[in-house]
C-alpha cells in the first residue's frame, strides 16, 4: 500500500475537491486566491462556470425560479439569455454596478449609468422568494442585496429620479429655440440625451 502524502499546497488538491473548497469562499477571497500563483489564477478563470455559479448563488437568487414562472411568450424571448448565461460575467456586472453606486464619483456614474441601471434592474428582475427562514417567511437574496445597497449608497436619488436635474448640463443650447412663435418656457428645455428606456422600468416604492 502506498503512503499517503498531504498535498504541498492547495492547488495540488484534486480539482473537484479544490472547487468544493473554493465554492464556499466569497468572490473577493476567490480573487485573492487567484493572485497567489499561476495555477490558482488558472483555476478561478471566468470559464470555470461551476465555481462562479457557486459564488453567484452565495449572493443572488438562482434566476431559474423567475424564468420558470414566465409566461410562454416571455420565456421564449428569454431563451437566448438563458442559453448564454455566464455566471462570472453576471456576477461581475452586478458587483461592479453596486460599487459604482457606493462611490461618490458622480461624473463616472453618469457615463456608466446605463450599465449600472441595467444591472440593478436585472437583480430586481431575477429576484425570487427562493429562501424560507425558520419562521417560514419567504426571503430573497436579491432583495436583501438591493436593500442593503440602497442603505449604503450615498446618493441614489439622482439615479432613480431625474439625473438630468442640472439644467445647465443637460439643456439644449438656447439659440436652437430662438425661432419659436410662443414664449419659451422651462418645460421646453430639451435634453441632450433622450429619456432612456430604463427610466420607465425603474420605480422604487
Amino acid at each position: 500500500m502506498s503512503e499517503l502524502h498531504a498535498p504541498a499546497s492547495l492547488v495540488e488538491l484534486a480539482p473537484e475537491i479544490l472547487e468544493l473548497i473554493l465554492s464556499y469562499l466569497p468572490h473577493q477571497h476567490l480573487t485573492s486566491f487567484g493572485r497567489t500563483s499561476h495555477r490558482a489564477n488558472e483555476f478561478i478563470r471566468p470559464n470555470n462556470q461551476i465555481l462562479w455559479k457557486a459564488c453567484y448563488l452565495h449572493i443572488f437568487d438562482h434566476p431559474k425560479h423567475v424564468w420558470d414562472s414566465l409566461v410562454p411568450t416571455a420565456r421564449a424571448s428569454n431563451r437566448h439569455r438563458e442559453a448564454t448565461w455566464d455566471w462570472h460575467h453576471e456576477l461581475r456586472r452586478r458587483l461592479v454596478a453596486a460599487n459604482a453606486l457606493c462611490k461618490p464619483n458622480k461624473e463616472r456614474l453618469l457615463t456608466d449609468i446605463q450599465d449600472v441601471v441595467d444591472a440593478l434592474l436585472d437583480i430586481r428582475d431575477t429576484a425570487s422568494y427562493s429562501l424560507t427562514t425558520e419562521s417560514d417567511e419567504p426571503r430573497s437574496m436579491n432583495l436583501r442585496f438591493l436593500n442593503k445597497l440602497l442603505a449604503r449608497a450615498p446618493n441614489v436619488d439622482p439615479i432613480v429620479h431625474d439625473y438630468h436635474r442640472d439644467i445647465d448640463s443637460m439643456s439644449l443650447p438656447l439659440d436652437l429655440m430662438a425661432d419659436l412663435d410662443r414664449p419659451f418656457t422651462r418645460s421646453m428645455l430639451g435634453r441632450k440625451v433622450q429619456v432612456p428606456e430604463w427610466a420607465s422600468r425603474l420605480h422604487v416604492g
Partner: protein, 151 residues
C-alpha cells in the same frame, strides 16, 4: 403623498415594500377566484394628488433660469386614502364599455380581465364611487397594463 402611504402601510401593517413589490407571484392567489391572475380581487388602496397650477405656471414662466426650480418642493393637494373593492366581471356590457376599448396590442398568454367595484374613503355617508377597468399583459408578457375608470 408619502405621508398618506406611510399611514396606509401602518394601518394595514405592511412593511415598506420597495423592490419587493416587483417579485412575481408574491401575492398569494385568490382561491375563491382562480382566474384572477392579476390580483384584481386583492386589497387595493389608492389616493390622488394634484399640484397647484399656480406653481406650474410659475415653474414655466419664471425668467430666472439660473436658479433651477424644483416642483418637488411644492405642496400637493392630496385626497383621502381610498379603499377599492373589485370583482372580476364577465358581463358583455362591461367588455363593450367604450372607454375600455383599445387597439393597443396585448399578450394573450393570459386573458384580459374586466372588473368593476367601488372606491370608498372614510365613512361619511357619501355614496361609493364606482370603479371599472381592465388588466392585461403587455406584449412581451412581463408587465401588466391596468386601466381604471373611477367616477
Amino acid at each position: 403623498m408619502h405621508r398618506i402611504f406611510a399611514t396606509a402601510l401602518k394601518m394595514y401593517r405592511l412593511n415598506p415594500s420597495g423592490f419587493a413589490i416587483n417579485i412575481p407571484y408574491a401575492l398569494p392567489p385568490n382561491a375563491a377566484c382562480p382566474e384572477d391572475w392579476a390580483g384584481v380581487t386583492a386589497t387595493w388602496l389608492g389616493t390622488y394628488a394634484f399640484l397647484d397650477y399656480r406653481a406650474l405656471v410659475h415653474y414655466n414662466f419664471a425668467h430666472n433660469l439660473e436658479y433651477p426650480l424644483d416642483l418637488g418642493g411644492c405642496e400637493e393637494a392630496c385626497g383621502d386614502l381610498m379603499r377599492l373593492e373589485l370583482e372580476i366581471d364577465h358581463s358583455e356590457e362591461l367588455k363593450m364599455d367604450r372607454r375600455l376599448q383599445t387597439e393597443l396590442p396585448y399578450c394573450r398568454d393570459l386573458p384580459m380581465l374586466f372588473f368593476n367595484g367601488t372606491s370608498n374613503g372614510r365613512p361619511t355617508g357619501r355614496p361609493s364611487i364606482g370603479v371599472r377597468g381592465s388588466a392585461c399583459l403587455v406584449p412581451g408578457g412581463r408587465q401588466v397594463r391596468w386601466r381604471l375608470i373611477i367616477r
